[in-house]
């Protein structure tokens, strides 16, 4: 049983859940993800592991409410158990000592970024993190990122916190200031696309971690396919991280919308039902 032992809303739509999963807590590595189901009727939801406590046997997950399934997940309370939880899935991040790392996180993408930042720092790298979101309340895990970064720059679209501007503006400032050896970008697909374009201009090797649509997460369905360097790859078993300069982000953005009509309709029906009950 995977009991929820802690729950915290970072903002109206972003929730942190700490879940009992001793085996996964022990086995997981930066970059890995899990798949969970809230109920017997539920979808399989892939979520990256933000952190783990091996001693307590727990993992930390961060989810953003975007549809029926994440809405249901956010309604679960401390003491409730997830119906299913499986992992760790996906290839782990290859972490080496390379020098200076630029870590760019957008929105909830900061959650999967955290263990990678920690890993790079522990491997002896200088780590500069750029956290970006629309506004102050959507900046998450800032303290945790600070703990493993030599420097943190916060960017908000509306200027309500840190500097006003996009992640790429913050990143470019750093790139112009000092030599960056590698970059990792995790966040909305559009944010990763523009970060990749920026670092390509400066010839900085860059990894991006993709959040494709998946069903099983074990290579079986192929829903998560993405074109990397002209070849079709499966995000679940070949990724989730790929060379950002090789990813066809436009195709990826298109594929993320593959079920948008079905999802929108289901979400509207779900919210209507909730409103009727209220």
């Amino acid at each position: 049983m995977n009991r929820i032992v802690e729950k915290e809303f970072f903002s109206e739509n972003v929730v942190k859940l700490v879940v009992e999963a001793p085996k996964i807590a022990k086995a997981r590595k930066p970059g890995n993800f899990i798949i969970l189901r809230v109920s017997k009727e539920g979808e399989r939801i892939p979520l990256t592991i933000a952190s783990a406590d091996e001693d307590k046997g727990t993992i930390t997950l961060i989810a953003q409410k975007v549809g029926v399934s994440t809405e249901k997940l956010a309604k679960m309370e401390v003491g409730d158990s997830l119906h299913d939880l499986v992992g760790p899935l996906g290839k782990a991040t290859e972490i080496h000592k390379v020098g200076t790392i630029l870590a760019c996180g957008g929105g909830v993408g900061v959650a999967p970024l955290l263990p990678i930042v920690e890993g790079y720092k522990k491997a002896g790298n200088r780590v500069i993190s750029v956290l970006a979101a629309r506004s102050k309340d959507l900046i998450i895990l800032e303290d945790e990122i600070r703990k493993w970064s030599d420097e943190v720059i916060v960017m908000t679209d509306d200027g309500s916190y840190g500097k006003k501007g996009l992640v790429t503006q913050g990143a470019e400032e750093i790139i112009n200031r000092e030599k960056i050896d590698e970059c990792i970008a995790i966040g909305p697909a559009i944010m990763m696309k523009f970060t990749a374009l920026l670092t390509k201009k400066y010839n900085i090797p860059t990894q991006a971690s993709l959040n494709s649509i998946m069903v099983d997460g074990t290579g079986m369905c192929g829903a998560c396919r993405v074109t990397v360097g002209g070849k079709t790859k499966f995000t679940c078993v070949d990724g989730p991280e790929f060379d950002a300069h090789q990813i066809d982000f436009d195709e990826m953005l298109m594929r993320l919308g593959g079920y948008s009509e079905e999802e929108k309709k289901a979400y509207e029906e779900f919210m209507n039902r909730l409103n009727l009950q209220a």
Binding site: E43, P88, C221, T227
Partner: protein
């Protein structure tokens, strides 16, 4: 040790079988026409995803069909069965009205008789080797229908017999994956006295029987009841557990596991790598069937969505293609089309599946192959370009090779395309065992005894074969169980 031939003779010499043989003359038996399987009307059944097409034989039909069997001295049918069911014995038990006995006969060597009675390609196995087929050039005894009858009768009777198991030897073994090969392995190992745990990555037990084969061909409840049987025998099941990930092989060895059977299947769907194949609305049969069968996507109560199409094309000519195209029909498609690059004769799907598909109004566009897809402004597929083919010389598979006809391209409107052109082995297990020998196709290499290059690891089913049938996978599971037993008894 008695040989199989001696054992079969001994069983055949039982008094009741000798008596039964005398009841009817040979001519009287061979003059009985083969039974027809009662089916739900095609116009009715296409309205439901979960209504089984075949209804099963009545007691009268089953007994009459069973009496066609000549109870041959040399039962060639058994040679056609990968799990070597004692076919004449179970058939004769049906003829004399001992249906529970018949079910016990099946369970001696098959962990999943109700499943096999429904999805085995009998026409290429036992029934192909039947005396009627070989010598009389007549329609074979309907062994598959009778198998299903016996298994169903026992289940519905409410008194399900549990096969006898040897005294527990306390040795822990693991089966990885919970599809037919692992279940067959588990069934045999538990009978031999081992402590067996089956590990499954998904949230449901059954592998392809659950995520792949639709309910109109194999109801999930039927699979569950066979699984219940294995649980009664003492097999333990762990879902949401990926061996090599959730815990490593080393971890499990430390927990006391002495042998591993890898039956992780051919998970990875193949695509054709043609332009436009990554547009939305083009998906693998694995994805399509998993959404519907495992995730319940056709039912509003479940949260997982599935794309519905008006004009659905399914690429391929195997059972999975038939399952997909018939599912699309049931989910409301106006046109459901099989697009297959060879002709009807070369189609690998079971004869029965093709027949059922035709009855249900499935269109067949044979000798045609997609070469490119086109999409609307949102990236959803709306058109498919096919190229027509003609048959050339036979290829390595012995089937005539399809050769493209230049300039024969034609566009057809489609809004959903399901690619069912085969699967590759699941890479998860080989990826976490660097010492494991795999072929260049990614299948695990094993000897005749199903043992891999790592002595404690045995493997079978699609992870070894690359894509085969339920029953061949089950045969591998049995074979591996016997070999692992010998290996662990040394």
């Amino acid at each position: 040790m008695t040989t199989l031939a001696e054992y079969l003779k001994e069983r055949r010499d039982q008094e009741w079988r000798a008596e039964l043989r005398k009841k009817l003359k040979g001519k009287e038996r061979t003059n009985i026409p083969r039974v027809k399987m009662p089916e739900v009307d095609p116009n009715e059944r296409v309205k439901f995803q979960n209504v089984e097409v075949n209804l099963g034989l009545s007691i009268e039909q089953a007994q009459r069909e069973a009496s066609r069997c000549m109870d041959c001295v040399n039962p060639t049918c058994i040679e056609g069965c990968p799990v070597q069911i004692n076919i004449p014995e179970f058939v004769k038990n049906i003829e004399r009205g001992e249906y529970g006995q018949a079910a016990s006969n099946l369970k001696l060597t098959s962990a999943l008789p109700a499943v096999c009675g429904r999805v085995c390609p009998q026409e290429k196995q036992c029934e192909e080797q039947c005396f009627y087929t070989l010598k009389l050039k007549k329609e074979p005894v309907a062994i598959g229908y009778l198998e299903r009858f016996a298994a169903d009768w026992e289940r519905e009777s409410g008194s399900v017999s549990v096969p006898e198991c040897a005294t527990k030897n306390g040795i822990k073994v693991a089966a990885i994956g919970s599809g037919p090969s692992s279940l067959s392995f588990a069934g045999d190992m538990i009978k031999l006295g081992y402590d067996v745990t089956v590990f499954e990555a998904l949230h449901e037990i059954g592998g392809v029987l659950k995520y792949g084969i639709p309910e109109f061909r194999l109801p999930n409840a039927t699979v569950d009841e066979e699984l219940e049987n294995l649980k009664q025998m003492g097999v333990k099941f762990e879902t949401n557990f990926i061996v090599g990930r959730t815990a490593s092989f080393d971890d499990l060895e430390k927990e006391g596991y002495k042998g591993f059977f890898v039956g992780s299947g051919a998970g990875l769907p193949r695509f054709m790598n043609i332009p436009g194949e990554n547009y939305n609305g083009i998906l693998s049969s694995n994805e399509y069937l998993t959404r519907v069968n495992l995730m319940g996507a056709a039912d509003d109560k479940f949260d997982t969505p599935v794309l519905r199409g008006k004009n659905v094309a399914v690429i391929g000519g195997g059972n999975t293609a038939m399952d997909s195209v018939r599912t699309a029909k049931r989910l409301g498609a106006e046109r459901s089309i099989i697009v297959y690059r060879r002709s009807r004769v070369e189609m690998p799907a079971r004869v029965e599946e093709v027949k059922h598909a035709e009855e249900e109004g499935i269109e067949f566009m044979n000798l045609a192959n997609p070469v490119e897809y086109f999409a609307d402004e949102n990236g959803r597929v709306n058109r498919m370009r096919v190229q027509y083919m003609e048959l050339g010389e036979p290829d390595a598979s012995g089937r005539r090779r399809p050769v493209p006809i230049e300039g024969s391209e034609k566009d057809i409107d489609v809004d959903l395309v399901i690619v069912a052109v085969g699967v590759s082995p699941n890479p998860l297990i080989p990826a976490c065992l660097p010492d494991l020998k795999v072929s260049r196709w990614g299948t695990i290499e094993v000897g005749d005894n199903m043992q891999s290059s790592i002595p404690v690891i045995f493997a079978g089913g699609d992870i070894v074969r690359g894509g085969a049938t339920v029953i061949l996978a089950m045969g591998d599971g049995r074979n591996a169980a016997q070999s692992m037993h010998e290996y662990l008894s040394k």
